[in-house]
Amino acid sequence: MNSSKPRRFRNGFVVPLAELPQLDYAIFSESLLAEVAADARIASYFGRPLADGLEIYAILAHDWNGKLSLLRTQVNGSFPSLTPMCPQLHLFERELSEQYGVRPDKHPWLKPVRFHKTWIDAADIWGRPHGKHPVPGDMEFYRVDGEEVHEVAVGPVHAGVIEPGHFRFQCHGEEVMHLEISLGYQHRGIEQMLIGGPHPSTIYLLETSAGDTTVGHATAYSQLLESLAGCEAPLRAQAIRALALELERLANHVGDIGALAGDIGFLPTASFCGRLRGDYLNLTAELCGSRFGRGLVRPGGVGFDLDGTFPQTFVERLKILKRETRGAIDLCFDAPSVLARFEGTGLVRTDDAEALGMVGVAARGCGLVRDARLHHPFGIWEGGFDTPIIELDGDVFARGNVRRREINASLELINQLLRGLPQGPISQPLGPLAADSLAVSLCEGWRGEVVHAAITDASGRIDRYKIVDPSFHNWSGLSMAMRGQQISDFPLCNKSFNLSYCGFDL
């Protein structure tokens, strides 16, 4: 076999680019496919433009070994697509085409991802007019023809106070045969704005790459910079970050269960959870002044300490919240009318979830054990997290129940953290960043794994920064969940995933 065994690293590694072999594309492909066929999945996959072509980096996660591996190659113009053999690459390859004008040959589904101009001076592979901004949603949608087959188009502006995106359903009566999702409306060009950094504005761009995952993205970024600077955040800072991540998980999970209940008209839980979600956000605000954790996580540590009476107040408030949260949520999960709506709705098979490379709550709801806190622990989680929560059924109930059980687990984790809060400083200054290096950092945000990767140039500035929000992997899962469902169940299915538009669009 003509493949190369890639080197393996742990989460938070830094490797000088000179030590990374640049493989021939054929060897790169074969190695990547061999790794995926064995035990790996794609955590990140991105390009970096060179004077004479495009470098491609693949970051593979070997969950059960707690390792990441890296492959690098260079392409020019067009190259054979790997998507037919490895479907979880489908969006990553489309992204490369859109950003750098390269063509993965025989990609079964080669369409734009975010609708922006090419990042380098290269021709648009879809032949859209040069120099003009592409029109969002302007692409060939998958289409089913036949008697009584009709199409439903929704968005970009949706009915609620939510983000924009376009959904195209192919329906036969009420039944959805296929859903295609076209996003990009929230594209703000974050990755391009990070080049040449870290700038004073960089942390704010990352905190707002997905605003409901502020702590998740800021933690991934901070870990990355700390790795590049060759230092570690003080233990106390790591504990506060871990605590804030769990608070973020609590607020969002509680809100999501409330929203699920709201979508099926079970109003008591919807109302109670709406209030409780705010109470968890307020706890984060007690800590750092912002309900979304803005300003809390910073490279080198955290900006706010949990000192004085804080730990005690938190313990007391959480004790009350725990009782109220359980009461609100159990009400819904104990009601037969609710279960009748949740169970069997929006099924994703485990095999499909695996093939699509799904992560986080949605993957765990399909029986896949994927939790960066367990597999790729960083800092305080090293050996400290051993209870990933999975459900086997892959339906709305499973995704809801993963959340319900994670809420209980998060409350317990926070209590543990508060009891054993390490003493010491909360931040330390960062030195200069390693030059000509690649660093990768993973963090289990509330939706799933947040992966950041950065390549520095000869002066230690960021030359390429790649963000993978869990939503990037999971939107395709929502499409699969809708197959064979009634279109009226779309809001419920959508809510059970609750994916980020802006985290996808960047």
Partner: protein, 252 residues
């Protein structure tokens, strides 16, 4: 059924007493900044240069803060390194005019009530269509919170509606990405006259952290006639509610 009633009793009545009773915000909450007086020209210049989002400028040697651009950063270098300003706990930040957001002598003009005929139309019933145009979902999330039972927006006659045809105004979040511009303008056009425009959050006012993005506009100021500005990144729900009620003449 009995379980539901029991749980309802246990959860208690949670709707806040606002606006009769002032909300208690966390001690570390960052609200209306207070500018330091009598800064030396050097300190003023240093403070101006330190803001990554150009919220600070020098007005004839005096420091001026544009609250529309301010993200209320926890590690604001002008506050931390140059002691040029400090954040107070005051959440009342919404204004009626863009220029009212320029703070230089610590007098801040909060939003005024609409004129009488507009108040007659909307004062007791205001339906809003919200459009997220490049927002990070934090602004959207904290607007959604207004509809929870804690704030219970509907008790003031204010509601978010699905159709622009049913709306009296549009509430925009996000810097207006190039990809959302046309959908935003279409939605605005679909709302019957007379209509209100509300810019909620630093992004919608002036581009926020995305003020330099080639993929985004600098908020809605150049695109739509704005009636109410709500600063913050994201604005606290009470900041938004305070602004809405002031505009309708329900408080202030």
């Amino acid at each position: 059924m009995l379980t539901i009633i029991r749980e309802r009793l246990r959860q208690g009545h949670r709707t806040g007493k606002y606006p009769k009773v002032e909300p208690i915000l966390p001690e570390r909450f960052r609200g209306l900044p207070q500018l330091a007086q009598n800064l030396t020209p050097q300190r003023c210049a240093d403070a101006v240069a330190s803001c990554p989002f150009a919220a600070l400028s020098s007005n004839g040697g005096k420091l001026r803060l544009d609250l529309g651009r301010c993200l209320f950063c926890a590690d604001c270098p002008a506050a931390a390194d140059h002691a040029a300003l400090a954040f107070s706990n005051d959440y009342r930040l919404a204004t009626s005019r863009r220029e009212d957001m320029l703070l230089d002598d610590n007098v801040y003009n909060v939003a005024e009530r609409l004129n009488k005929s507009m108040r007659k139309l909307f004062g007791r019933s205001l339906k809003l269509r919200q459009v997220s145009a490049g927002g990070c979902n934090a602004c959207e999330a904290d607007l959604n919170v207004l509809s929870t039972l804690v704030f219970d927006l509907a008790r003031f006659g204010i509601q978010f509606v699905a159709s622009p045809r049913h709306a009296d105004g549009i509430m925009v979040t996000g810097p207006v990405t190039e990809n959302m511009k046309s959908a935003l303008l279409d939605t605005y056009a679909a709302i019957p006259e007379p209509k209100l425009v509300i810019a909620s959050g630093a992004c919608a006012i002036a581009g926020g952290p995305y003020c330099d993005s080639p993929e985004a506009h600098q908020g809605i100021g150049d695109l739509l006639p704005v009636d109410l500005y709500i600063p913050g990144c994201p604005p606290h729900p009470y900041t938004a509610l305070d602004g809405l009620l002031r505009m309708l003449g329900r408080i202030g």
